[in-house]
């Protein structure tokens, strides 16, 4: 159900809504993580083209992810998730090898503590070990006391319809993962020790190039007091660095935690979807550099169609866990201009499961505030009038 339709919520073509009278089709990204090979060409191409400074030289230990997150200095971020889960391999990768238990959860938990100052605000947020462990298919026993993830025999991660954490699905008779028990004490002993006698056989390595979502309803833009953030004729959202005054309202407004501030200059920075390239009829740098067409750029309608076909093809090929994220115009942000095909739940990739534009309730709030103000005024008047009687 769509709440009261206004330009802050619900399906919408954002460019005409923003006043572009001759806007072309809305342009965007479709990132198909099922063909991502984690080469990070997107990150490099983005930095080269947009002259984005480095985001620190820190080994984060988060698999091959040393970028950590989308920040003011990283507008593309390739996440790597190692999980002891099936990945449609005909034979599990480590079947027949003398393996012990999985270490994915434990090492992810250790890595979660490695957030270093990136010179940006809030930058790479300090990780929560239990959340990091959960993302790798591990079992944060300290949180739930029960496995959070159930794995069905055909290899699909459990996917509760309500998008809630999968803990509720445990114990439904499906085989549980052979992942390590994460006991909430990262680094207390060498990983692998005391991780149980179970042997890991399944393994998969998820890779996903994250980017600004260019929401249909972009809260960052809604709250920007200077007009620095604006909606382009392509339907994308861009910060004009010469206008931004560094107030930072946009940072807390973003439901994805994308937009971020450089500490040294105070201004907000994020992906522009290569606005300058689009204007010249070129493809954004990241999509241009992507060797496997994991990042696809084009008219959003076409991309959505293509994405739906790809999901259907993957389902047919025995990859039931394939799903789209951010494609739905009726979701909490009116659909993303940059949407994704994922192979697990969004939380695993560090994405919010059910983002809602933070300005959704502004009209109602203003209405109420207005009412309240009126009531106050009325009361004040009444008090005067009443007082004089």
């Amino acid at each position: 159900m769509i709440p009261d339709v206004n330009s802050l919520y619900g399906p919408l073509d954002p460019a005409p809504d923003a006043g572009w009278s001759a806007a072309g089709p809305r342009m965007g990204f479709f990132t198909d993580t099922s063909v991502c090979i984690g080469c990070k060409a997107c990150e490099v191409a983005c930095k080269e083209w947009n002259a984005v400074p480095d985001s620190g030289f820190d080994l984060l230990g988060m698999s091959y992810d040393n970028t950590g997150a989308l920040t003011a200095n990283s507008w593309r971020h390739v996440a790597f998730i190692e999980q002891p889960l099936p990945a449609g391999h005909r034979t599990p990768p480590f079947a027949g090898n003398p393996t012990g238990g999985s270490v994915s959860a434990a090492s992810a938990a250790v890595a979660a503590g490695t957030g270093n100052p990136t010179g940006t605000q809030p930058g790479v947020p300090p990780g929560a070990p239990s959340a990091a462990a959960r993302m790798t298919g591990g079992v944060p026993a300290d949180v739930l006391g029960a496995p959070t993830r159930a794995v069905t025999a055909n290899g699909a991660g459990s996917m509760p319809a309500d998008g809630a954490p999968a803990g509720s699905a445990a114990g439904n008779g499906a085989a549980t993962t052979n992942g390590a028990q994460f006991l909430g004490m990262p680094g207390a002993q060498p990983p692998g020790r005391g991780s149980g006698a179970e042997s890991r056989t399944d393994f998969r390595w998820l890779m996903m190039s994250d980017v600004c979502k260019h929401c249909t309803h972009a809260a960052c833009l809604d709250v920007c007091p200077t007009g620095s953030l604006f909606r382009t004729e392509f339907g994308t959202v861009v910060v004009q660095e010469d206008i931004c005054n560094g107030c930072g309202y946009c940072i807390s407004a973003c439901p994805y935690g994308v937009i971020d501030q450089r500490k040294d200059d105070g201004r907000a920075w994020k992906c522009t979807l290569c606005y300058d390239r689009l204007g010249a009829g070129m493809t954004p740098a990241c999509a241009q550099a992507c060797p496997t067409e994991s990042i696809q750029y084009g008219p959003l309608d076409e991309l959505r169609e293509r994405a739906a076909q790809r999901v259907a093809a993957l389902h047919e090929r025995g990859v039931p866990e394939a799903r789209l994220y951010g494609h739905d115009p009726t979701d909490g942000v009116g659909g993303d201009g940059a949407f994704f095909l994922l192979l697990d739940q969004p939380e695993v990739y560090g994405l919010p499961p059910d983002p809602v534009v933070t300005t959704r309730d502004l009209p109602r709030m203003y209405k109420r505030a207005g009412l309240a103000a009126l009531a106050m005024a009325a009361a004040a008047v009444a008090a005067f009038v009443g007082g004089s009687s």
Binding site: V35, I37, G38, C39, K40, A41, E43, V44, K47, E48, P53, D54, S55, G56, F57, D58, L59, G61, S63, Y64, N66, T67, E82, P84, A87, G88, H89, R90, T91, P93, F94, A95, G96, N97, P98, T99, G100, G101, S102, V103, S104, A106, S107, V110, A111, T114, G187, Q189, P190, P191, G192, S195, R200, F203, R204, W205, M207, P291, T292, E293
Partner: protein, 872 residues
């Protein structure tokens, strides 16, 4: 491939999209494994056992493409009765001479030809990496062979092959490689099912596959499989090497190697090639079948290109000016010679041996003992600063104030700052334009060498020393342009193509090369790249405007032929094997070969042609001799000569291994090249004692984010930050055993060095069960060094120097080591730690491990009466 060649990997992803199954065999689970359908973890260094298992699977189940194998390979050819296989020799073929550590190859020859080719001791071939010569043509062999078309003769190649690989069963593959047999069978089945009349399979390897003491034999095993399955000379087939840099193929075609001249002409040897005629005859092998008969023209035209007007038939085209080899001048021998003070000066171009070559300490100590060193690179790399910043400064082995080497650092232009060609794995030359001017003093290699030549000639202009004539008589007159007098790269390409010296007309094909001094050709196999005076490598016709072979994109050697030996894409009668795989065929009406590609066959020689008695050269090739550069016109399942360490690939353990060879008493390749030098050492392997001092196997390779020794990535901000620190990947099981923790420090010790690295504990690595025991492998990137934005210890420091005998490539993918938690010691304590390990392992530097570990049952003896050089 996704890890090191992500751009090429897009085609694997495209194939996968269309339903292809992707198999990935690797010691660690990489970005390729992540998208593969089946991943097979393997014990490093056991690929011949795995591929040999596939050969056995093919032969045992009769899955070979029999018509193809009979017609185009030497399967039916009968081998000398004196040949003995490794199965009968406990790991030795017949003819091994323990004294020289090399094979006498007489007994490997075809029946009746025991003494007429390629025989004699092969120690000299090993020293000159003679195997490299065969990149464009097969080794010398007689064209007249005895065959048994029924393949029943016990000494026909087919039966020999069958016996040789009989023990490479799925059970043996599991025992040697640690690959469970079910997984092996999955691989073998998929590979064979995808080959035959209607389908072809392509074998793509990256050059890490070659970096073994049996590197050439790895590729040989792959080639045997491809021949058995009919995957050579056909569209979608072949064996392709993915190179580690742009134009590595180009740098062997027009070589940067000590033993080759352009077009795979051998560098003259001082003793064997005293005269021009001796040199030419050693190339063309008078009386042999095939296209090397014209090599006198290629050789004369090359010298004509070098010395121009001064080169005449009367003075043997200035052959006397040519430098001569005296033995092994390979890069590792040179480093040892530097340490010994035998080499005074050194040019380093686009290479960073202080990080990128095996035994980094030897590399740095060698370079620290020169008079002068010229480094041309984009950045101030480790090989330019080792004398002040290298690890040997910390240990006191190099004292900057006393280091005698004078280092000249000259900034180089990058590939986008100069024009020229790249030659890729398909032998395709692609011209690239200059995108921008190089900054400041940076100059192209072409500029550097041209102007260096001019200045040297200027300085020597008044010299009357005979030794300076070679330089002064060079034809050294390329047109230049611009403020820095940049030589014209197109003029160089034109000379490489070759031209008629009187008219200046560029040659259209190497058939036009003459041996009378009327043509000059810089590289005969490239003739045609400048045909009609047009830079054919610069062609950029869209694939949408031409057929799928895209013959008008760039230019491929030889003769713009995209697939070599494509006569094999048609059956012996000249008809396509199948409609689906139609490529080149015989048009009987027109009386010529035709098809999508340039036919790799004489245009009008019909399939039914049989050579007359006594024919030689191209005339001796029959109408179904598809492998026209082979002496017998056949693809070689069995190599009677040309491969120094055996006519068939055999599993040997790496030079450093924690395992006894499960297949043979002979532990490692008995012909591997070793150097007895105090700086070098090899960790003990069974049957030696103390191998348990270095219990773990380490392997090194690339990360997507960095480029080789890091000179082009650790210095570049957006790349450096992506992999900012040296690390070692270990399995959780090894982490528990060694007591190392995720993101903690560990140090690794070999008999050469200690290095430290951050630890990544990951499920992507796994222990393997091999021959009843558990083997732990760990993985290191080899990109790090002490210069740049991100630094770390160099993985290659751990390696010693052991080389493949055929091409002298180093075994730098496998070594043994120990792992300890925490950081390494610094200063002299570091040397003490290495010394302690050496003592415990019984290593005496400079003393080689035993080369022969079993009884040699069929040694070279008096009956081997072929031509032989004196072993003294």
């Amino acid at each position: 491939m996704a890890e090191a060649h992500p751009v090429g990997f897009q085609w694997v992803m495209e194939a996968k999209r269309r339903g292809a199954k992707v198999f990935h065999v690797d010691p660690r689970f990489t970005r390729t494994s992540a998208v593969a359908d089946t991943y097979l973890p393997i014990r490093a260094g056991t690929d011949i056992a795995l591929l040999g298992g596939v050969v056995r699977y093919i032969l045992d189940n009769e899955l070979d493409f029999r018509e193809y194998v009979l017609a185009y390979t030497n399967a039916a050819t009968i081998v000398s009765e004196r040949f003995e296989d490794t199965e009968d020799g406990d790991g030795f073929f017949s003819g091994f001479d323990p004294e020289t550590g090399s094979y006498v190859q007489d007994s490997w020859q075809y029946e009746g030809h025991e003494s007429d080719s390629g025989s004699g001791h092969t120690a000299k071939e090993r020293d000159s990496a003679a195997g490299l010569r065969h990149e464009s043509h097969g080794a010398q062999v007689s064209g007249k062979t005895q065959r048994d078309e029924t393949l029943q003769h016990p000494r026909c190649v087919y039966q020999i092959l069958k016996r040789h690989f009989a023990r490479y069963t799925p059970e043996m593959v599991e025992r040697v490689c640690g690959i469970p047999r079910e997984k092996f069978l999955e691989l073998a089945q998929a590979w064979t099912e995808n080959s035959g009349r209607e389908r072809t399979g392509c074998l793509i390897y990256s050059v890490g596959w070659t970096q073994h003491s049996v590197g050439v034999q790895y590729i040989r095993t792959g080639a045997i499989i491809q021949l058995l399955l009919g995957n050579m000379g056909r569209p979608g087939g072949g064996v392709l090497a993915l190179r580690g840099h742009a134009s590595i193929q180009g740098s062997t075609d027009i070589p940067t190697l000590f033993n080759l001249l352009p077009g795979y002409l051998p560098m003259p040897h001082h003793a064997d090639h005293r005269t021009f005629d001796e040199w030419v005859d050693s190339i063309r092998h008078p009386g042999q079948k095939g296209f090397w008969g014209n090599s006198r023209a290629y050789a004369a035209s090359l010298l004509k290109a070098y010395w121009g007007e001064k080169a005449t038939p009367e003075n043997d085209f200035c052959y006397g000016y040519m430098p001569r080899m005296t033995g092994d001048h390979g890069t590792y021998q040179q480093v040892l010679n530097m340490i010994d003070g035998k080499i005074k000066g050194y040019f380093l171009l686009g290479q960073n041996p202080a990080v990128g070559s095996a035994h980094g300490r030897a590399q740095r100590l060698g370079m620290a003992n020169l008079d002068w060193l010229v480094v041309r690179d984009l950045f101030m790399i480790e090989s330019a600063t080792f004398w002040k910043n290298g690890p040997e400064v910390a240990t006191g082995e190099i004292v900057p104030e006393q280091c005698r080497t004078e280092v000249f650092f000259l900034p180089a232009a990058s590939h986008v700052e100069k024009e020229g060609t790249f030659t890729q794995t398909q032998r395709l030359l692609q011209w690239r334009e200059k995108a921008l001017d190089p900054p400041n003093d940076a100059r192209s290699e072409l500029w550097f060498f041209y102007h260096l030549g001019l200045r040297l000639r200027e300085k020597l202009a008044d010299s009357d020393h005979p030794r300076d004539r070679a330089l002064l008589d060079l034809a050294w007159d390329y047109p230049t342009h611009g403020q820095h007098a940049e030589p014209s790269a197109e003029a160089v390409l034109r000379e490489i193509n070759g031209y008629d010296v009187t008219t200046g007309r560029p040659l259209a094909s190497f058939a036009e090369a003459k041996d009378d001094g009327s043509t000059a050709v810089g590289c005969w196999i490239y003739t045609g790249v400048y045909a009609d005076g047009v830079n054919q490598a610069a062609r950029r016709k869209s694939r949408h405007e031409q057929d799928w072979v895209a013959a008008e994109w760039g230019w491929a050697w030889p003769a713009n032929r995209r697939t070599l030996y494509n006569r094999a894409s048609a059956d012996p009668q000249g008809r396509p094997w199948s409609e689906r795989k139609r490529y080149v065929w015989w048009d009987s009406e027109a009386g010529e070969w035709t098809g999508h590609d340039v036919p790799d066959f004489e245009k009008t020689k019909p399939p039914s042609y049989r050579p007359p008695q006594g024919a030689s050269g191209p005339e001796a090739l029959a109408g179904d001799d598809a492998f026209v550069m082979q002496g017998d016109g056949k693809g070689w399942l069995y190599a009677p000569s040309g491969v120094l360490d055996g006519p068939l690939p055999t599993h040997y353990e790496p030079a450093e291994s924690p395992m006894r060879n499960p297949l043979y008493g002979q532990q490692s390749n008995p012909m591997r090249k070793v150097y007895d030098h105090p700086v070098n050492s090899v960790n003990p392997s069974p049957p030696q004692e103390h191998s348990q001092v270095f219990p773990y196997v380490f392997t090194v390779s690339r990360l997507t984010e960095h480029h080789t020794a890091g000179g082009m990535s650790r210095m570049v901000r957006p790349l450096a930050e992506l992999q900012p620190e040296m690390f070692v990947e270990v399995s959780p099981e090894l982490a528990a055993e060694a007591g190392v923790a995720h993101l903690g420090w560990a140090h690794l010790i070999s008999g050469r060095a200690v290095i430290e690295a951050k630890v990544l504990v990951t499920d992507r690595l796994t222990p393997l069960r091999v021959d009843g025991r558990v083997i732990h492998q760990l993985w290191l990137p080899y990109h790090f060094g002490f210069e740049g934005m991100v630094t770390g210890d160099s993985a290659n420091d751990l390696f010693g120097i052991t080389l493949d005998p055929n091409v002298l490539i180093q075994e730098s993918k496998i070594g043994t080591c120990d792992v300890r938690p925490g950081r390494r010691p610094t200063g002299p304590a570091l040397l003490d730690l290495v010394e302690e390990y050496r003592r415990r392992a019984g290593i005496v530097p400079g003393r080689r491990p035993p080369m022969v570990t079993t009884e040699v049952r069929h040694p070279a003896g008096p009956s081997d009466d072929g031509p032989r050089e004196n072993p003294e």
